[in-house]
């Protein structure tokens, strides 16, 4: 503890007196240390440029992400064939994804609200697995369908597509929206069975 110096006691403000103690050494140390930090920080980012600025930092992060995604792409799970799935577990997962993301626009049973009816055999953007995959992953922004490729993985997109194709197509929704798009050839739709 620094010594108390009472030479200010002749100064008294409404009864308040002041000591004139020395500054605590640790306090002075912190103060000086913060100057050193400031100097090094500014030199580091703006003079020697040894640390990345935010746009460089972002570029680095994205570079790493690309490498990571390429590795994932190369791995087995990503080489998933572009084909409808028929395993019950996949269809169940597809149903969960549908309930979580698709219901606000397509209705709980796929009958359509803001978005089109998914149960009838009229198609706006085709009915092949590629069509399903493209519409879900890239969306149809001008009509309000959001791209889902940032949200859902390749597997999840195929699962929800399979659920729609396998379970919703041909089902009878409570409040079906009027058909939109091109009707599918009756013959082909019969082949689909259900």
């Amino acid at each position: 503890m620094a010594k108390n110096r009472d030479d200010l006691t002749n100064h008294d403000y409404d009864g308040i007196q002041e000591y004139d103690n020395d500054l605590p050494p640790w306090w002075i140390f912190i103060f000086y240390l913060s100057f050193v930090f400031a100097l090094i920080y500014l030199l580091n980012y703006h003079v020697f440029r040894t640390a990345p600025l935010q746009s460089q930092e972002y570029a680095m992060e994205m570079e790493m992400a690309r490498a990571e995604l390429a590795a994932i792409e190369a791995s087995a799970s990503a080489r998933l064939p572009l084909a409808f799935m028929d395993k019950v577990t996949d269809l169940e997962t597809g149903k969960q994804i549908f309930t979580k993301y698709c219901v606000p626009c397509h209705g709980p049973d796929g009958g359509g609200t803001v978005g089109p009816n998914l149960t009838d055999h009229y198609f706006l953007h085709g009915n092949t697995v590629e069509d399903y995959f493209n519409v879900i992953s890239l969306g149809v922004p001008e009509k309000g369908m959001i791209p889902w490729n940032k949200t859902l993985s390749r597997r999840e997109i195929l699962q929800v597509a399979s659920y729609i194709q396998n379970r919703l197509q041909g089902s009878i929704p409570a409040n079906p929206k009027e058909p939109q798009g091109t009707p599918l050839d009756q013959r082909i739709s019969m082949l689909w069975g259900n």
Binding site: A2, L8, T9, H11, Y13, D14, G15, I16, Q17, E18, Y19, D20, N21, D22, L23, P24, W27, I28, I30, F31, S34, F35, F37, A38, Y41, L42, Y45, H46, L53, Q54, S55, E57, Y58, E61, M62, A65, E68, L69, I72, S77, A78, K100, Y101, V103, P104, C105, V114, P141, E142, K143, G144, I146, K150, T151, L152, S153, R154, R155
Partner: protein, 708 residues
């Protein structure tokens, strides 16, 4: 030679009751908005009590009404005694009091009505801004004239802080309030985009510094040694931490804009000056706490001292945490989350709230010449405040860190783990409940205090004019004194030096941002808003959407995956005011344009839960009924032209036609989805604005934009 003068206690009493009243009102509104975050229906289904509009009512009430009145109370009480002089002018004191209360009432009426500039802690519209300026100058004049008429040779450290408060708040308020009036209660910020953001956070940060901190340090230097009856620990520490605090504080504003579109040199200045603030801030804390050496036994018993200790400790914690948030790595996680309100509330609930309570418990018995009605109730209040505070901040630290981590989490497949923003909200709703509980407990404490103080006052009687025997005039000067001691006897010079100290930081950061073009690279594809979008933007401002939604996508993979390309400085050059926001209770909206169909927005505004099950956004059914004022359209476009937005002359003339044309397109699209909307409804204007957000820099856009 000695003489008898009379201290004005009546003005102190007025400010004291105003402090109690507005404190309770402000906290009550705080609890109400806290409840709305888990129970949106608690908005009572009216626009006037919905989160977006009354969140600013809460912040303004607790900052300017509660703390503001407390500052005046404490200054008017301590200044007279420290200078051995009655306030220079009773008339000015009265104008200060009633003017300030009128401003508060004006705020309490206009904010719920949706009259807001949208700039945080500066939401009040231009006529009120002018009134604030006048009343603040009245206060300053009274302060300075009292100092000049003092019977004490030197100014005590508390008064240095009062001077710094007066000067800096005046500068901050005037510079940040540059705005172009459109109507009596609507104006547009003079600054745009990045510049507006820089000015706003220079203001916002230093409002915390010079409204919530420096005046309270002044109060601490008077009331703490008074209550503890101990000498202040160190005079030289007072000098060093005072000057370093006011000089350094002013530079730190940009730390509110890290990883934003603000030029990075300015961001870095914000970082390093925040770190350099630790010692000056802690200088105040240790000078307070070390003053209590030798009386800690008293602290255990006296609720007033206990409150002061928690207040000062809270100040120390908040001023350490602030600089930590200024580190990029911490900020990357904490910004836009509940971690920030947690940090803020350590400062406000502990430092400002508890210190105010302590001062009230000290002053009321003094001026009513009586004893405190109940020490037990004061003790209960101390514990309720402390427990309420702990509930509040622990819940929000928890929720902030949880949500921040969830936003950034990727799956092993390389997609966001929680792509649906709502999932991260639902996760933290229990914490929102705990926060509201904490706030409620704190409020109950304040109510108990009000009862205790009223009973105290009733048991005594006000000494309106308290006699004091003082020396006739200035006592002999100490010619041998140190340079600073001599400076303490020269208030004019002192004030000039304070002004210089607080101007430097702002000037260094502002001038290059305003004058050097390369700081805000323009983008040729960015065009001004259409007339309908301008109206929609005003609706967005009026409803306080910015209170929950940011418009600033930061350059992180987790944000560009979720929201799209990160925000560029050049995208905001026509934004008067900027709407970057400071908190994401809902998702960022900077690239929401074109993401959803118009009908999605319509349905979402009417019943958010229909499009986003579990959403805590309130419903905005009135948007479909309220009409925009199309008689203002032309004036809005001209106002923007005056502010430098390059509309063609023709656009002003054709404003109404352009508006109708775009509105018709939207209602047409809505009709296709079975929705009938009024062309001039606020809803259609807001949809137009939302669909425009962030799309100008897209490579290819399928949506037709009506460029003016």
């Amino acid at each position: 030679m000695q003489t008898t003068i009379y201290y004005d206690n009546k003005i102190v009493r007025n400010f004291a009751w105003a402090t109690v009243l507005w404190g309770i009102v402000g906290m009550l509104v705080g609890v109400l908005i806290a409840v709305q975050l888990f129970l949106p229906e608690a908005n009572l289904n009216t626009p006037y009590t919905t989160y977006g509009r009354i969140r600013p009512l809460h912040t303004n009430a607790v900052i300017f009404a509660f703390v503001g009145n407390a500052i005046f109370m404490g200054v008017y009480y301590s200044l007279q005694r420290l200078l051995k002089a009655r306030m220079w002018s009773d008339a000015l004191s009265q104008i200060n009091f009633w003017g300030w209360q009128l401003i508060i009432v004006a705020a309490a009426l206009t904010l719920p009505l949706g009259y807001t500039s949208s700039k945080e802690y500066a939401e009040l519209e231009w006529p009120i801004d002018i009134a604030i300026t006048i009343i603040w100058v009245v206060f300053g004049l009274n302060l300075i004239m009292t100092i000049l008429n003092r019977r004490e040779k030197h100014m005590y450290v508390a008064i240095w802080f009062y001077i710094a408060t007066f000067v800096t708040v005046a500068v901050l308020h005037i510079v940040n309030s540059f705005e172009l009036p459109l109507t009596l209660f609507k104006s547009y910020s003079y600054y745009a985009g990045v510049q507006d953001a820089l000015v706003q956070w220079w203001y916002g940060h230093n409002a915390v510094a010079f409204f919530l901190t420096t005046p309270y340090l002044g109060l601490m230097y008077y009331f703490l040694p008074k209550v503890a009856q101990r000498p202040v620990y160190s005079y030289r520490l007072s000098i060093i931490h005072f000057w370093s605090l006011i000089f350094i504080y002013i530079w730190a504003g940009p730390h509110h804009l890290l990883y934003s579109s603000l030029p990075e040199w300015a961001q870095s200045l914000g970082v390093v000056f925040s770190i350099m603030l630790i010692a000056p801030s802690w200088g105040g804390m240790i000078n307070g706490l070390l003053t209590l050496r030798g009386v800690w036994d008293k602290v255990r018993e006296d609720p007033v001292l206990k409150m002061m200790v928690v207040a000062i400790t809270g100040y120390g914690m908040a001023t350490f945490e602030g600089p930590m948030h200024s580190l990029k790595s911490v900020n990357a996680l904490s910004h836009f989350t509940d971690w920030i309100p947690a940090h803020v509330h350590v400062g406000t609930l502990a430092w400002n709230g508890m210190f105010t309570f302590a001062v009230l418990y000290y002053i009321i018995p003094k001026i009513f010449r009586t004893e405190l009605y109940s020490l037990r109730l004061a003790n209960a209040h101390f514990w309720l405040s402390t427990i309420g505070l702990v509930f509040w901040v622990v819940a929000m630290y928890w929720s902030g860190i949880t949500q921040g981590l969830m936003w950034k989490q990727f799956t092993s497949e390389g997609t966001l783990q929680y792509p649906n923003f709502l999932e991260t909200v639902i996760q933290i709703i229990p914490m929102y409940m705990v926060r509201a509980l904490g706030g409620g407990i704190y409020l109950v404490g304040a109510l108990i205090m009000a009862y205790n103080l009223i009973r105290t006052a009733a048991s005594g009687h006000l000494v309106s004019n308290e006699p004091a025997i003082v020396p006739d005039r200035n006592p002999n000067a100490h010619e041998t004194a140190s340079w600073h001691r001599r400076l303490e006897g020269k208030p004019a010079l002192f004030s000039i030096l304070v002004t210089l100290a607080i101007l430097i930081g702002g000037i260094v950061e502002f001038l290059p941002t305003f004058l050097v073009k390369s700081n805000i690279p323009t983008l040729s594809s960015v065009k001004p808003y259409t007339p309908l979008e301008l109206h929609g933007r005003d609706v967005y401002i009026k409803e306080g959407c910015v209170g929950c939604h940011s418009q600033m996508i930061r350059p992180f993979r987790s944000e560009t995956e979720r929201y799209g390309e990160y925000s560029k400085a050049g995208e905001f050059i026509y934004d008067h005011p900027f709407l970057w926001g400071s908190k994401r209770t809902g998702p960022d909206l900077h690239r929401v344009g074109g993401k959803y169909p118009d009908s999605w927005h319509y349905n979402h505004m009417m019943v958010p839960e229909r499009m986003s099950p579990g959403s805590i956004m309130p419903a905005y059914p009135w948007l479909a009924e309220n009409l925009i004022d199309t008689s203002l359209t032309k004036d809005m476009v001209s106002a923007m032209r005056t502010l430098g937005v390059p509309y063609a002359k023709q656009t002003t003339a054709d404003a109404s036609a352009l508006l109708d044309q775009q509105a018709a397109q939207i209602t047409e699209r809505l009709k296709k989805d079975g929705i009938i909307a009024h062309n001039h409804s606020e809803m259609v204007a807001l949809i137009a604005y939302l669909q425009r957000l962030g799309i100008d820099i897209r490579q290819s856009t399928t949506r037709q934009i009506n460029t003016p």
